[in-house]
Symmetry: C2
Subunit: 239 residues, 2 copies
């Protein structure tokens, strides 16, 4: 039996304010839930409509489909919903490339970028404090479970970049073409906001301006930030 | 004044069947409409709620916002909706790379891939007949106007690939890493379906199997087809 208070808690976690207050976040769907369990993310509560759906964990609660629907943020809820404790962020190591995001606002873009970091083996993703929250349900949906393997941190980006000893690269429309750059073995790559690119405060602490060359008509819309990140991560890894 | 029959015609064009029957398609929003007008796509009818919104074209019709809402497929319609004649597809030239899609089903993916072709100066996009229709409203939305500059054709893909004189490359999870490939100046790159990849019929006519190397955990979900296309188009252009 799920209590009214539990339902209220779970639905409140759709808002960042309550995720911060309780230190919890919600994940729906077998795949992402399993990835987080495998990555030893600490479980608070697991709600399932069918006990066969998962291994038995302490805190597993059998609920009806109607109850799950009340807790879900999805139009068509799956048969599993988990509440996890937000993990403590890990200290950043300067051993490899780090990706930094300056005010990325679209949940789908952040989720895709987390998934790309996972694919390309990037361990740390540093977000400006006005980047969308990585525990937003739409972000988690788009990460396809990769959130379990990428360390996402929120920081004052200008200060973080000022203090680093790594070279700082930024993606700009008018940067040097990345095809001619000899990228180092480690560094920081900054990607900007969907509409405005990298903010002027952050721009001041960027030492290398790079761009993805365009071959088509000049009137073409610029690349989407997630697509551009995909191309630049591939460039980083091919050196 | 817009007639009931006109409204009926416009809403019917949300379905592929009627787009084929009438040889027409609908575009909403100033940006995409303007890109198509600039590219000399033949206009059938232009509906605007405000005459100042566009230049005067033959066939421009002033309508109320309520009337535009009736015709629109969007939740929040813009102030301009145009009906265009479907352009005749241009003959394919073998002068450059061509992208081919095998059963790409998601409208957002096709739209993004058209936009990427435009960015990277790819003139021809050949789609298998079971790929989503490029005049689907959601596809057009995602192209951001690029549909005006990319020649999209629907063909029996196996036959097309059998008859070409160009080398045929295909993206596979187990292909040779693209980082070690010396890509030619021209060729065809085949990208497969979201869930199943390239079909076995098409696989038989592919001469070069390539892949994007993975650096993270092996359990990571494969890259999305639009993201993978972005990376491979950049690889094609950097040679």
């Amino acid at each position: 039996m799920v209590t009214k208070n539990q339902i209220k808690l779970v639905t409140s976690l759709q808002q960042k304010k309550y995720r911060t207050q309780h230190g919890l976040f919600v994940v729906e769907g077998k795949k992402t839930v399993n990835e987080l369990l495998q990555a030893s993310t600490r479980l608070y509560k697991l709600f399932v409509t069918n006990v066969q759906a998962v291994q038995d964990f302490e805190g597993t609660e059998l609920v009806s489909q109607a109850e799950l629907r009340q807790m879900s943020s999805l139009n068509t809820p799956s048969d599993i919903l988990a509440v996890f404790y937000k993990p403590n962020s890990v200290e950043i190591e300067n051993k490899d490339w780090i990706i930094a995001l300056d005010a990325v606002r679209d949940p789908g873009n952040l989720g895709t970028i987390i998934r790309l970091c996972d694919w390309f083996g990037i361990k740390h993703l540093v977000c400006s404090s006005d980047t969308v929250d990585c525990y937003n349900p739409k972000v988690l949906q788009a990460t396809m479970g990769s959130i379990a393997r990428v360390n996402v941190l929120y920081k004052d980006l200008s200060i973080f970049l000022k203090e680093t000893s790594l070279p700082v690269y930024g993606a700009f429309m008018d940067g040097n073409t990345v095809h001619n750059e000899k990228l180092p073995k480690k560094g920081i790559l900054v990607m900007g906001n969907e509409a405005n690119g990298i903010s002027s405060a952050v721009e001041q602490v960027i030492s290398h301006r790079i761009s993805i060359p365009q071959f088509g008509d000049q009137t073409t819309e610029s690349l989407n930030v997630a697509t551009a990140t995909a191309i630049l991560l591939n460039e980083i890894r091919r050196t």
